[in-house]
Each structure stands twice: as C-alpha cells, then as structure tokens.
C-alpha cells in the first residue's frame, strides 16, 4: 500500500525478526512491574494498575518516552495492540488511534468499566474506585497536559477504530457495538505439514504448551484415546517429543499447518489462545479447552456458549481427561454446534484478514 510502517515492541526478542522483514523497529517504553501482582484483577483498570499503572512516575516517564518517539517518527496513526500507555500518549499528542486485537485488550466502554468475570456479582463502587485510581494516576502523570484527558477512565482507551481480528463469538467481551470484527488472520509462522494417516479412526488435534501444569496428564490421556492424535507442542525438546509419541499419537515440538490438520479433525484440544479456536470454528471442529490465564478463560467461556466446546477450569480439580475427551468425541451435540459455526465462518478467508485490517488502518490514517 506504500505506507511507511515503524514498529515498537516491549520484548526485544521480537525486534530482530521484525527488522529482518524490513521494519524499522524500536523498543517500546516499559512500565515498571510491581513485585507482587494481584492474581485476580477485577476490571480493566485493575489489570492496568497491576501492570504498572499504580506508579505515577513510571507512567509519566513512559508517556514522555512515547512523546519523544512520536516527535521522532511523526506518525499519522498509532496502531496499538495492547498498548494502553501508547494510546494515552497518542491522545495527548492528538495522533489518530487504531486498536488491533483479539478483543481482551479493548475494554467494555462503560462507567465504571465492568467486572471481567461477568458471571460473578460485583460492587460498582469498587469498580468505580479502580477506574478513579487509574484516571488519577494518568492525569497526575500527564502533568500540565492533563486537561487534554477525558474525565472517565474508559475514554482513555477510545480510538478512531477498534479492529477486532476475531469472530464475534470468541471476542471475550462480545458481541458488542463500537468495534469492527474483521476476522482472525492467518498464522504469521507456518507450521509443519502433518497429514492424517488413519481414515477410520477419529482425529484428535491438540495444541499444547509443555509448561502447562496439566500437560503430562493431558498427554497421558490423549495417548489412550481410541483415535489418531497429533500434538503440536512448541517449546518441547525433540527428544521429549519422540519419547511421548506412540503408534497412534505423533508429537511435534513446534507449530503445524493448521489448515491441513483441521481438515478432517474430530476434536481440537487447546488452551484457547486466539489462533487455534478460530481455525477450529471455521473448520467445524468441536473443542476441549484448557485455558491457562484469564483472557483465555474468557474466550473459552464464549466458545462454550456456542455449544461446540467444553472447558476445564484451571482453578478446579482436573477432570478424568480420557473420559472428558471421549465425551466430546462421541456426543453429537458438540459436532452439531461446531457445524453451525462452520456454516457461519467456513468461508472466512484467513489470508485476507490482515489485508482488510491494513486497509482500514490506512483509511483512518488518511482521514
């Protein structure tokens, strides 16, 4: 499209590959994390207070550094992917703002911002106090420019466009107004082509993190299923992958080609990260979800609501995984719900989602 794109990442580990792809890439201003984090933040303000927004000096320094970066680069538009300080800095600098996300980093814009766990009762006064604290920190950090800030916490994170690269059914806070659902993008990293070999057995695909607490128990159960199993476990050593593999279960210590593996899959097991469930939905594959963190848990609940998935809550005792997987494989209602999802999203073109998103960003930039 001919635009000049500059990146700023918080993790320097991604900078080299970004630079290798031709992007000028900076380190993003970092907030100082607290030594002790609250494991169960209540609302979006509480999440940010947990991630450094209690520290007025730190926020002030980060806003200053974003301003210097904006002065240096003179962007027409800021594209923020879970970058709240950058969004606020751009607001102060009067730069157009677009968010790109899978939903969790775009809060529900209400006053106060709601409890993240919508199923539990919450005290609006506590939520409002969290919003007020966040807003007070930001206003104090902004110093003389605080007058440019809104008087409601949620308005700090408004943007000219909120582009949600996901399906409405798996937006953790969806479906909702005020955002654009552009659908999930293709994987940036390709994976190995692992074809299904057994035409008669059910096909179970699992995408698992080896560091997950229940990894061993899940693997043991998968190995006993009356099914052909493919496990993608990026981060696993090659030796361990070989040791865990059986005649009916192939364990790959890396990413796999999701297009290929979803075709003909009977069950998809994952942690409910953004990418894999979307693929399973488009392919009409029932899911067993093992979320590890809050954003995954919220997304898992949304998928469960479609009827196409079951969830194992990490804060509750583990189920008998073999029986749990078998239930999803054999109960027709999961297949039927998954089929309905495929009817809605089976024609989604993952490869074009990024282009559509880029085009919308360009529109905002050129307004």
């Amino acid at each position: 499209m001919g635009h000049e794109v500059t990146m700023a990442f918080r993790d320097s580990a991604f900078i080299e590959s970004s630079r290798a792809e031709g992007f000028e890439t900076f380190i993003a201003p970092l907030l100082k994390l607290q030594r002790e984090m609250n494991p169960s933040p209540l609302n979006f303000s509480d999440v940010l207070l947990n991630l450094g927004f209690k520290d007025t000096r730190g926020v002030a320094g980060a806003l200053r550094a974003w301003q210097s970066l904006f002065d240096l680069l003179k962007p027409d538009v800021l594209v923020a992917e879970y970058a709240p300080t950058a969004l606020i800095a751009a607001l102060l600098a009067r730069i157009r703002r677009v968010t790109v996300s899978a939903g969790f980093s775009v809060p529900i814009f209400s006053d106060p911002m709601p409890d993240l766990r919508r199923w539990q009762p919450s005290d609006p006064n506590i939520l409002r106090a969290l919003d007020d604290r966040l807003l007070a920190t930001v206003r104090h950090a902004a110093g003389a420019r605080a007058q440019l800030l809104p008087d409601r916490a949620h308005a700090l994170f408004h943007a000219n466009a909120h582009l949600l690269c996901t399906f409405p059914e798996i937006d953790p806070f969806g479906p909702r107004e005020g955002v654009e659902y552009l659908g999930p993008p293709a994987d940036s990293v390709g994976g190995a082509d692992i074809p299904w070999l057994n035409e008669t057995a059910p096909h179970v695909f699992a995408y698992l993190k080896p560091r997950a607490a229940r990894f061993d128990a899940v693997m043991a159960a998968l190995a006993t299923l009356d099914a052909e199993v493919i496990v993608a476990a990026p981060g696993l050593t090659a030796d361990r992958a070989t040791a865990l593999s059986t005649p009916s279960m192939r364990v790959v210590p890396g990413a796999v080609n999701l297009d290929l593996v979803m075709q003909g899959a009977s069950l998809c097991v994952s942690h409910a990260g953004a990418g894999v469930p979307a693929r399973a939905m488009a392919a009409g594959v029932p899911m067993a979800l093992l979320p590890l963190q809050l954003d995954q848990f919220l997304m898992a609940i949304r998928i469960e609501q479609t009827g196409a998935a079951v969830i194992s809550n990490p804060e509750q005792p583990a189920p008998d995984f073999r029986a749990w997987f078998t239930d999803v494989l054999t109960e027709p209602r999961f297949r039927e719900a998954a089929k309905r999802l495929r009817e809605s999203h089976g024609t989604h073109d993952f490869g074009k989602a990024a282009t559509r998103t880029a085009a919308r960003i360009a529109e905002v930039a050129q307004r």
Partner: protein, 407 residues
C-alpha cells in the same frame, strides 16, 4: 551544536540518571541537543529539568537476571542480561541501531551500557563511558573479576567470557558484521571518564588509567538548612525498599542528632515518624552542597553520592543493596572513613553503627585525610574538564558504519 545521546542500560540506581542529567544540562548549556536513552523511565520524573531532552526507552532483556548464578565479572552480568542467546542480543542491538539511526547522535555517552557501546562501535559513532568504573573493567582477556570476597575460578572467568563473546559474535553475524576477538573490544571508547579515584575503584588491579574523580552534582535540589538544634548533622539518602528502613528511622528518631533526609516516595506514616523540628524529611531531592560543608555523617546505599560526599571529608554509613555498592562500601571501610551494614545484619548492628559513626572522631579524620589527597578536585572542575574533552571528541572525524543496512 552536536547531538549527544546518553545511554543507561544496566544497573538500577537513581544515581545513574542524576549523574547523566548533570552532565547533560551542562552540555545543553553549551548548545548541544540531548537525548536520554534510559532503562528506567521512572527515574526521569525525579529530574524536573529534563523537559527539553528527548527521552527513549533503552533496550533491555525482559528475562533479565533469570536463571543466572551470582555474577563475578562483567561477562557474567552480560550473560544474565540478554547475552545468553544471539537472538536476544540481536534484538537489543537492532533496537539500539534503530534509535541511533533515527536520532543520529554525534556522540554517545554511556553509563553501564555495553550494548549501546557495541551498537555505537558497529555504527562508527563516537562514544565514551561515564561511570564509577564498575561497568568498565580493565580491557583484559578474559575480563577480570570484580568479586573479591569469594574465590573466583580463572577457568570460570574464561568460560563466561567465551560464552558472552560467542553470543556477541553470533548476533553481529546476523547483521553481517565482522566478529570481535575479545569482549574487551566491545568496551573500546574514545574516552573513559572513570568517575572515581584509585582507592575506591571497583577494580583495584586496574592498569594505569586516568581518574576523573567522583561524579556528583550537589548543587541541584531543594534548598534545606540544618535545623538549629543540637546533635550531629546526619544526611540520609536511602530508598524506602531497603531492608533496615524502619530500624534506621527508629534509630534516627530516638537519637539526639539533626537529620536531613530524602527517601523517595516515603510513605506518610514513616515520614511522620521521622519528621521533627530537628529532622527534615524532604519530598524532593536535596541540594546537598551547602549541607556537606558541616555534615558529620552521610547515610546512603553507596551510590555516586557516597564517594562524592567523601570528597568533603564526610564519614559514611553505607547500606549496600547490591555488589557494586558493597565494593564501594568495603573500600571506604578499608580507608577507615566509614562502615557498612549488610541487608542480613541484625537490627542491633544498625543502631551500633550509627552510634559509632556519629561519635568516633577517627572516621571523620580518615575521611578528611582521603579528601586532602585530591585538593584539585571539585565537581565543577571535573565537569569543566569532561566538557572540554567531549568537545575534542565531537570534533574528531566520524568513522564509517560497519552495518550493511541501517534499516
């Protein structure tokens, strides 16, 4: 007018920012344009005069310090700060390249910033170190140990050097840049402003070197006068997070001494406990220059302020929080000009040390004798010489970049 980038990449003390700021202000007064590229942006708001500087985040490894044993040399520190894998280091280097390429410094002034030095070397930028010496080991191979209180195996030193060097060369290869022969090359500069004197150098075995004296600026901050009460005059510059903070506050509050304290972000309950007509608790950094003239004791963690105040003949009580500070504290104790209390020491040691330092005149005599060895030193004279030397370096012809493509 030149463009001067100050880089602070490792180490966690406000002193790094304060020292850079003092020099930066002087450079700005000479018409130069200044950028701070700092690891901690939090510290900047202690420096209200930075509004005219550009400010950037220094690239740091987000897995810093994970899984590394206690360091004995700079190579060990590097291994714990992203030099364990070429991909990590290449990311940090790329980020330095990006900022240098865009901001276009004529000179990079580094304070504990080995990756900034490496990036500047690759890009042919003029560069200097400005530090107390801990981050600038003698350029030997392998880089020597700073740890002195435990035996350091020479083979282990060589292994750490080899590992870190392999990472450096692996990262450089990703950018098509020729390898280094030794880590010492990474640390090569146009000048090292070793802001200490030999007695306090972290590397007492350093071959012949120029020393510029401690880097301090005691002429900025809140104007405070010693209270007109009796007792010794004790200046306190510590962090609230120190292990013995409550013991120290209790001991000072129970003492007959006058106190001028700056403890950043001190919580109101502690401040109320310490504050009295005889004990000033400042919410801003204090202008120490006027106070040091008749100060009887400085309580600190052993950062820049500590050797700086020693030049005014002020005895020191040091609560080191990390090894670099411990080295300073140890050397001051060796001079007889102070004492230190470690974080694991019992409470009684804090009270006893405070009492001993306030009442034993030998500490003051030793501190004054040390200061008398360097009659030509003053922060202003040190800064004048540094600025002149920097102007010489800026006037040197630029070197070509070894980077095939800057973007």
């Amino acid at each position: 007018m030149a463009r001067i980038a100050f880089a602070w990449e490792m180490g966690g003390e406000l002193g790094h920012a304060m020292a850079c700021n003092s020099l930066a202000l002087a450079m700005r007064a000479r018409g130069h344009h200044v950028a701070f590229i700092f690891r901690e942006l939090h510290s900047l708001t202690h420096l209200p005069v930075i509004a005219a500087h550009d400010v950037f985040q220094a690239p740091v490894s987000i897995s810093e310090g994970e899984g590394q044993p206690l360091p004995s040399s700079l190579a060990d520190i590097l291994l714990g700060c992203g030099y364990d894998r070429p991909q990590h280091l290449a990311g940090m280097l790329a980020a330095w390249f990006a900022i240098f390429d865009r901001w276009k410094p004529d000179l990079v002034v580094t304070d504990f910033s080995p990756t900034a030095l490496l990036a500047a070397r690759v890009m042919g930028l003029r560069r200097v170190t400005f530090s107390n010496g801990f981050s600038v080991p003698p350029r030997l191979t392998p880089l020597p140990a700073f740890r002195f209180d435990q035996g350091v195996n020479p083979e282990k030193l060589a292994q750490s050097e080899a590992r870190a060097l392999a990472t450096v060369n692996g990262a450089l290869a990703r950018f098509g840049v020729a390898p280094l022969r030794a880590l010492a090359q990474q640390l090569e500069t146009d000048e090292d402003f070793l802001a200490t004197f030999p007695e306090l150098d972290s590397y007492p075995n350093r071959p012949a070197a120029g020393y510029w004296g401690p880097r301090v600026s005691f002429d900025a901050g809140a104007d405070v006068k010693w209270p007109a009460a009796g007792g010794r005059r004790i200046a306190v510059y510590v962090k609230q997070s120190m292990r013995h903070i409550d013991t120290l506050i209790d001991a000072l509050a129970a003492s007959p001494h006058r106190v001028a304290a700056f403890i950043p972000d001190l919580d109101p309950a502690r401040a109320a406990k310490l504050r009295s007509p005889a004990r000033i608790v400042s919410e801003r950094a204090i202008k120490l220059g006027p106070l040091l003239r008749d100060c009887d004791l400085l309580v600190s963690h052993g950062g820049n302020i500590c050797p700086g105040a020693l030049m005014s003949g002020v005895p020191q009580l040091v609560f080191p929080t990390q090894y670099e500070q411990f080295l300073t504290a140890h050397r001051i104790a060796t001079l007889g000009a102070g004492a230190w209390v470690g974080p694991e020491a019992p409470v009684a040691d804090v009270v006893a040390a405070l009492d001993r330092l306030a009442n034993d005149p030998s500490f003051k005599r030793a501190a004054q004798a040390y200061a008398a060895r360097y009659p030509g030193y003053s922060p202003a004279e040190q800064q004048r010489r540094i600025l002149n030397r920097l102007d010489e370096i800026i006037a040197k012809p630029a070197r070509p970049s070894a980077l095939p493509s800057a973007k």
